[in-house]
Structures are given as C-alpha cells and as structure tokens.
Symmetry: C2
DNA sequence: TGCGAAACTGGCCGGGTGGCCAGGACCAGG
DNA sequence: CCTGGTCCTGGCCACCCGGCCAGTTTCGCA
C-alpha cells in the first residue's frame, strides 16, 4: 500500500461482454489520472459486469427459507436453527430440504456456497 | 436489456475508501459517454474496491488444507474429497479438523463461510 | 543426528444430517 | 368449494460428520 495520493488510479476490468469491455477501455484510456491495469497488476479498483443470467429470477425462496439459509451460513446446526426460530428440528430439516432442492445443492455447505455465489446471501 | 449501443454507459460505485471514491467520481464525471448511476439505478457495470480483508497473517494453511478446503467449498463430502485427492477418508477428516481449528469454525459449512469472508477462498 | 511439522492411516462412537413416509393448519385464487 | 402454496410437525433410518484414541512416514531445520 502506501500509495502516492497524486498517482494515477489503476483500474482492472472484469467484464463478460466483450463489446462493453472495449467501449469502457476506449473511454477510460483517455482519462487523465486514470490507467488500466496491466495483466497481473494489482489494481486499486475493479470494474465488474457479470452476466445477470446466472440468476434467472432470484430463485423464489420463501421468507422462512431465507431465515434458515441465513442461519445456515452462520454455521448453525439444525438444532440451533430450530431454537433460534422457535420451530422444531423437523421443520428446519424440511426447509433445508427445500433449500437444497431449489439451490440445486448436495448439502448444506454446497447450499450456502451456491446462495453466496448468486448473491442470495452475503457472507 | 435492449440498450442503445450509443447510449451512455452507466457505472455504479461500491468503494469503501471515501477518498478513492471521490477521486473516481470526479474523474469519471467529466468523461463523455459515461455516467455515474443514480442511487438505486441499474448500472451496466460496477466499480468495486473492497477493503483487503482483515486477515492478520494469511492464517497459515498448509497446501493440503487448501486442497481440502477448496473441495469443501464445492460441497464435496469427505468421501468425495478422499477419492478426489487419492487419500483415505480418515486423512480428510484429519485435515478438516485442522481447518475447523484454524478457521475457528464449528463445522464445515462455517469453515467455508469463514474462509470466503477472509478471502482465503473464492466462491 | 535428533526433533518437530506435515501428511497420512486406522478404529471407535455419539450426535448430526438428509431422504423418505405421513399428517394438519392457514390463506389466496380459481 | 376445492386446489395449491407455505408453513409446521412427527417418525424412521442409512449415512455422514467431527472428536477421540492410536500409529506411520517423510521432510527440513537446528
């Protein structure tokens, strides 16, 4: 770190759409005080534009499933989730099962990973 | 979608450092063909610069632990990890135990969440 | 040349997990 | 009124998980 406050800001690009990437690169290339990062260079900031297609429709999760999912991401066991939400372990397992199905996951760890990847939850 | 190819590119900012955010906003505000997004507006791309995760010392994880951790994040079971790495389930459990200890996690799901939070792995 | 760290393996066991079956209550929409 | 969705609960059971005990080899470092 310890960067010069007056130095150029280095930006990296992580954009799926080639056309958009080109337009941005062209526009930003002419801006004084700004520079695009060389391959492998550490940038101060990154311009991202991921395909939103990964998440067709927010993947309809019910409120209760979101509750369970959030606690799962905290590493809580079914028993802890049950106590936290004031419901039975069986009900928790029911919701977890729905989550595994909707998120196309093989287990709770996979479910949390998938949910985090598509922005359903924030780690 | 269906955007006009000649329209301005809308950019949003997600930057922790206020100083950097200000400088970028000032620089980009004068670029023709480019516009910063209004609050809540959908942007074509986002400029991100998150705080380099608070991790005191990279949390010394051995190479093997990183291997196991990566497969855990994919939702793999101990048995699958064992097959994948060509080692026994006992050894996998041994490494998982070390991971839980080092990452201060209560279970594999918690371990993956912690690791992702501090940037040890990328989801 | 010891000595610790890392990696690897085994057995054992209590408790957790996930899949299956079943049921009931509530409420919006056809 | 009846259907469908969400939420809730129970039992049963095979399997997985994590923690405990024990051991081996290999490697680098002092």
């Amino acid at each position: 770190m310890s960067e010069d406050k007056t130095a150029e800001i280095v930006l990296s690009l992580e954009i799926d759409d080639p056309a958009l990437a080109d337009r941005l690169a062209a526009l930003l290339g002419n801006v004084a005080g700004l520079r695009l990062a060389a391959p492998g260079e550490t940038a101060a900031a990154t311009i991202v534009a991921r395909d939103p297609r990964i998440m067709p429709d927010d993947i309809a999760l019910t409120q209760r499933e979101l509750d369970v999912l959030a606690l799962m991401a905290e590493g809580a066991s079914n028993k802890m989730i049950a106590r936290q939400l004031g419901i039975s372990v069986h009900t928790v397992k029911f919701h977890v099962g729905s989550l595994l199905d909707k998120l196309d996951a093989t287990g709770r760890t996979d479910a949390v990973a998938h949910a985090a990847r598509r922005g359903v939850i924030e780690l």
